[in-house]
């Protein structure tokens, strides 16, 4: 099933507020899903007979931000955070990409992690992928069973894949930079 058909089914079921008016064209087109609907949309995509997206290939966060004010004009994106879901179906052998967008900081307060709903109840692997996104990109996933850092040590400060991340000068006496 191609993305147009999938989108029209989703549009009928969830409305334009949840899944947008049309898929976004690109080499891999995607559907932008509203953060509040992502769990419902995911569950539907997994369980529906026509979709059967039982496999979450990848879930990752992406920080759109240009820290250098001189280059900010050419950057071409408003500062925001994206969570990207790559789905595929083992039985029907089709693929789909979803995106959820949100602010870089909760209520635009520096240091307050943005919140997104967790899909770890839909696909088991989302548990670890979301922990990684929390660890490296700094996204707080609501209702996640065990949101701890996974790759960095528990006492690490900051989230390395943020564009404005400051590399630490030292960590427990080990010199950085």
């Amino acid at each position: 099933m191609d993305i147009q058909e999938i989108h029209s089914i989703l549009l009928e079921k969830f409305g334009a507020a949840a899944v947008g008016n049309a898929p976004v064209a690109a080499t891999d087109p995607w559907i932008t899903v509203d953060a509040d609907s992502i769990v419902d949309v995911s569950t539907f995509l997994r369980d529906d007979e026509r979709m059967q997206f039982d496999h979450l290939n990848d879930l990752c966060g992406c920080d759109y931000f240009e820290p250098d004010p001189k280059k900010a004009d050419k950057f071409g994106h408003d500062p925001h955070i994206e969570v990207v879901y790559q789905l595929s179906s083992i039985t029907l052998k089709h693929r789909l990409k979803l995106k959820v967008m949100g602010p870089r900081w909760k209520n635009d307060e520096q240091g307050q992690l943005p919140e997104f709903p967790s899909v770890s109840g839909v696909w088991g692997i989302a548990d670890w992928h979301e922990r990684e996104a929390y660890d490296l990109v700094g996204i707080y996933f609501q209702n996640h069973p065990n949101l701890r850092r996974i790759l960095c040590p528990e006492d690490w400060v900051g989230h390395a894949l943020r564009k404005d991340y400051d590399f630490p000068l030292e960590y427990h006496g080990v010199r950085g930079r």
Partner: protein, 412 residues
Amino acid sequence: MSMQVEDPRVVEFDVQTDEMLVNMGPQHPSTHGVLRLLLRTDGEIVHECTPHIGYLHRCAEKIGENLAAPQWIPYTDRMDYLAAMNMNLGFALAIEKMVGMEVNEKAMHLRVFIAELGRVASHLVAMGTYGLDLGTFSPFLYAFREREIILDFFEEICGARLTYSYITIGGATHDLPEEIEIPDGLSALLKIKKGGRKPFFEVVEMFLQWLEKRIVEYHTLLTRNAIFIKRTADIGILTREIAISYGCTGPVLRGSGVDYDLRRDGEAIYTRMYKDYDFEIPVAPFEDAPRDAVVGDCWSRFYVRMMEVVQAIRLVRQSIPKYQAAEGTHREPFKFNTKLPKDEVYLETEAPRGQMGFYVVGNGNAEPLRCRAKSSCFCNLSITDKICRGVPLADVPAVVGSLDVVMGEIDR
């Protein structure tokens, strides 16, 4: 307060010991690198197994945001360092998909040749180290003896033995050699004179013929070994549903009875490489499995890998005449400072350990905005807790070893 026990036999089954936390790793030899497992055990039985990862974390993704795409290829080598060629291929294909480049026939068959030879080398290590996990040392030595010769070939081809950076955007860095010196290891094994020179593909064929006979011996040594079967069959059972939900891929998924391989079911840019090839995809259950083996157990996962070696040898054989007949160059130019378009691609390829994905976001610069590597072992490892519950402590290395994880790829 004393308790009166009426029937002493009841006590036998009711007895409970205190739960104990056992730390295994990160320097434990059977954890394949630096994996730390925190086990909650009741006597011998594991109640919970929590993997702690990140000891090899280098944040390759952040490094990728500061490098041009061709510069990041050496970093992909260091992810799955036992199958570096397949890692190179995954990333090169992702960038080719992004810039809309299609490599020519010659480079395509060259890549199949290299990737499948890499798969053989990787699965040989998987077999050897799995034997090591279960306490038998000799398969490990045999596996490394064979792998050594493949590494000798790779050294002749690109100069490196472990981190090749050979397959690159647009093809491969060098063409295959016409003629090579027969590797010392191979001449010793075949009992021929040292130092002779022969055409490259002839030497490869000599090696493949030799390897094919050895695989039968490995089956006698390990796969059909009564002790090996006792230690692996019906242990660490991963059901089909959990395997799919937890994103398991590669031999782990196929060992659970799911017929899915990206070389056949993947995206067009990848499957086009394997279009004219004739190969089978081994999937559990197997007709010749021992009586105790069930779908999704450690034995099935191991056997899928062994069967894949046979198929990979077939693919290497088929690729040689195709490569020789193909026209064109082994590498199409891709400038080092090529600006990536404002676009984003995700591409997964079938690496020996599962589906390795690369997600690249371009923003008009040579350096990508986001360079994400989705690791197959990362997903495969996440089910450790599910399949380790209820097994005796001594079986934990058998279960974790059957997943065949490489920490370099998990931690990136």
